[in-house]
Amino acid sequence: MKTVFSDNDLLLFLYDEMPFDEADALVKALSTDEELLSRYEFFQQTSSQIGSVVFEPSDAIIEAIEEAAKQEMKVPPPKKSVWKMAFLTTVCLIAFGVSAFLGTPTTSNNNQSAAAVSVIVPVSSESEAVWDDDSFSNQIENLENRTKALQDPIL
């Protein structure tokens, strides 16, 4: 059983927040320990003095709040199904956006797939510039010629 009590314990007891068995032990301690009793009386007196202060809102404010509550009652609360619809629409839009982003052709595609995709996706002027660039074609041609030269059986 607890025998030493702090000021926190006294406050818990004062405001009826102490477990029953501890409160029982504290009552016994208060009957024998004068120092503990005087500390308790101090808290009890001070809290009872300040507890007498009470303030009320004006009647006009109460009436205004009641009127506002009535007005709120006239507005139908937001239905959960509306939120569900909004959520599902958002998910669909995000999914469509992601799939469209992932489906865009890249420069690493070969000519055949690029041609196949170009049927579906309109090709931008920038990507057209890459594929129709003469210098790019010339570079490929040079590379092919070098490869052929390296493969020449005479060399």
Binding site: F42, T46, Q49, S52, V54, E56, P57, A68, M73
Partner: protein, 202 residues
């Protein structure tokens, strides 16, 4: 009908209010208006600001309940107090950003005291006592004042205060302890306590 309703628990009143019974909100308002308003008033220290915030809190409460955002069954007051505290903090932030918008120190104390039974002299003594105590509380450091207000006027447990203020229960208890000790100290330093005790004895 209202008598039967007023005996119902908070959660039942809230359910009935969601189902369209607006009287249930009026009963909740009557049940908690003093605690919530006193809490706000002692935090913001200005009656007109407190009334604006109180109205804002209650309208927010209505909207949140109606939109199904209230799910703290049986803990209506801590939930409302949390909203009130957050709005009070928002208010202080706005005031800090705009220092021209200052709180008025003057307030009509007579307008804040509930009409109770008793002679005119009793009323005056009660009013003066409230004024002294309010002045003492307002000299406390913010965190101590906050815990003291929530425990004494909003009637929240230390566990609930700890949750709302995001501290441990021991910290909340420690702040309360210092608040009570400091009240006594401030009262002695300013001589307010002697005046107050004389009033009590009369």
């Amino acid at each position: 009908m209202d008598k039967a309703l007023s005996k119902q628990e908070d959660r039942d009143l809230i359910k009935a209010f969601i189902n369209g019974n607006e009287r249930c909100f009026a009963i909740l308002l009557t049940r908690y208006k003093t605690k919530v308003f006193t809490t706000i008033y002692l935090i913001v220290k200005d009656r007109s600001v407190a009334e604006d915030l109180f109205q804002e809190v209650m309208i927010k409460v209505v909207r949140m309940i109606r939109s199904g955002k209230y799910n703290e069954e049986g803990k209506f007051l801590p939930w409302v107090t949390r909203i009130a505290r957050n709005l009070a903090i928002d208010h202080f932030r706005k005031v800090q950003r705009n220092p021209l918008q200052r709180e008025s120190e003057d307030y009509d104390i007579f307008a804040t005291i509930p009409q109770t039974e008793g002679s005119a002299e009793d009323q005056i003594i009660r009013t003066e006592n409230q004024r002294y105590i309010k002045a003492l509380i307002q000299q406390l450091p913010d965190k101590q004042r906050e815990v003291l207000i929530m425990r004494t006027y909003a009637d929240l447990s230390f566990k609930e205060i700890a949750d709302i203020t995001d501290v441990s229960i021991n910290t909340a208890l420690g702040r309360m302890r210092y608040a009570l000790l400091n009240l006594k100290k401030i009262a002695h330093e300013t001589g307010t306590l002697a005046h107050y005790e004389n009033r009590i004895q009369r």
